[in-house]
């Protein structure tokens, strides 16, 4: 009886310690995640201006206004265009490189090292350098090299037709390394027995790739795709530093618009309604990603 009592006491003590250990992190979570998350929903149904201190309840007015805000609609279109550009280019290039790097060439260690260099570099530094490289006329190195083979390069960042594609390419090169290494890992983990069996059955080259390797890699590809989509939707530094949303708003993306409305125009309430839209999209994508993750581990087991 006495023993049982002391055991219970021990459990209580352990539980107390448990709470004490998570307390700082959870309090931080409350203050830095939970309260702000509730706040954006509350802000979004108010006409709130940080500069003038106005704060008037306005129901769904902010959301209704979004539908008539041509800049916002353009922002959504641009963000989707940006993601549609980044994701396929990134996936195709990183898959190709990952397969290439699985060969046992002696230069591959060097190649692995350099594809990861931009990943550890800050987005700001990378954007600054590419802003120079993409200068118009024959000023920038890219256009200079193009002029050597007789092509007159456009003013990449100041032309509405090329600004977005320039930003997309800059971003793809910056982030390619992570996906290359993730895919390399996945390729190395492919079940050898299956591939050997397929080879014995006469599958090789392109057929082995499309019928055996690619389907086996599909779960990882889908996972990486979701992570890349979410990352693309959150793009900000590249845009802010290279084009500042221009020319003529052709590179204005959703986070840039949140920043612009909240911290340049001080329309806090309106900006929060855009944040709610961004949050909902990321939430949906994350739920898809997590369910894919579950299926992936199902395959792994």
């Amino acid at each position: 009886m006495k023993n049982k009592f002391s055991l219970q006491k021990q459990h209580q003590k352990e539980a107390l310690m448990g709470y004490a250990f998570i307390a700082p992190q959870m309090l931080g979570f409350l203050f830095f995640i939970m309260i702000p998350l509730i706040s954006i929903f509350v802000y979004s149904i108010h006409t709130k201006n940080l500069l003038f201190g106005t704060n008037i309840w306005c129901g769904m007015d902010n959301y209704k206004a979004l539908f008539y805000d041509s800049v916002f609609l353009k922002t959504i279109k641009n963000t989707i265009f940006f993601s549609l550009g980044v994701v396929p280019i990134n996936l195709i290039c990183s898959l190709f490189l990952a397969f290439y790097l699985c060969n046992n060439y002696k230069e591959n260690k060097y190649l692995k090292t350099i594809v990861f260099l931009p990943v550890v570099t800050s987005g700001v530094a990378w954007a600054i350098v590419f802003k120079y490289i993409l200068q118009g006329g024959t000023d920038g190195p890219l256009n200079y090299f193009l002029s050597l083979i007789g092509i007159q390069g456009p003013n990449w960042l100041h032309d509405t037709h090329t600004a977005m594609i320039s930003v997309i390419i800059t971003r793809v090169i910056k982030n390619l390394g992570t996906n290359v290494l993730i895919f390399s890992g996945a390729i190395l983990n492919l079940p050898n027995s299956l591939i050997e069996a397929a080879t014995l059955d006469g599958a090789k080259g392109i057929k082995l790739f499309t019928k055996i390797k690619l389907p086996l890699l599909m779960p990882s590809i889908l996972m990486v795709m979701m992570v890349t989509v979410i990352g693309s939707m959150r793009v900000f530094d590249t845009i802010k530093l290279m084009t500042d949303g221009g020319p003529e708003g052709s590179t204005m993306v959703i986070v840039y618009y949140i920043y612009h409305q909240a911290f340049k125009m001080f329309n806090t309430g309106y900006a929060s309604s855009i944040s709610v839209i961004l949050f909902s999209s990321v939430l949906v994508l994350t739920i898809i990603q997590w369910s894919l993750r579950k299926r992936l581990s199902y395959y792994e087991n």
């Binding site: 310690m17 959870m26 979570f29 995640i33 802000y43 550890v120 800050s122 993730i182 802010k240 944040s275």
Partner: protein, 277 residues
Amino acid sequence: MKINNKLHLTKRTLIIVILTILFVYPFWWMLVNSLNNANEIFGKPSILPRSWVFYNYVEIFKIQPFGRHYANTLLVAFVGTLGNIIFSSMSGYSFAKLKFPGRNLLFIVLLTALMMPIEVIIIPLYSQMMELNLSDSLIPLMLIPIFCAQGAFSSFMFRQHFITIPNELEEAAKLDGLSAFGIFKTIMLPISTPIIAAAGILAFLSIWNMYLEPLVFINSLNNFTLPLSLANFNDSYGLPQWQYQLAATSLSIIPIMGVYLIFQEKITDAMVGSGMK
């Protein structure tokens, strides 16, 4: 056969050249032109600097308090990383090893922070910090990586790690009369150095590179961090002062590159792991 071999070698060389141009040349171009005069930057690119103007690297400290900005960034990165490791190793340990009601639920709640983009919550964070009179200071920049997504991610890493450690180790320590905190400090932390290093590297890099947060929180020049400082090398017309901007950018990149080249495997492993979270 011989032709085939030659073709193969050409293909390999071509790939080396293309990848070097894409991934190394931008950095090389930056370094070369950080040692040029402004009028030598554009036009025909050179392999080596034309006039070796090392003075550019002195001038950047005079134009704006670049040294101060560098120190600010180091301070924020140091405190942020340390706080991140301390609190997340504690919570990770507790979620893995200590039994208390609501443990799994609370852990799942914490994991929702992983998917919370800072861009979504930056507006209320700003007004909260303003109410606390902390908005134009380095403190929010230190707290965000401790408690937002990066903190939750470290906590997740630590939990996954501690779960793999056999309970017998703790049982033995308990018999020796060690308290839960004693076990954590003298047994659990010392055997976790690889995870501490991995989580620390990730936190440090993410802090070193953060841009939106300082852009929103910091107003006064003295509190700038490196990313803000780099974007701020403009003349009175708002045009960039190229050679200085490139010199400052080089100075901000070089230490990170050095660390990367030394601890390459550790860093890529940690980052690839985080990509699959």
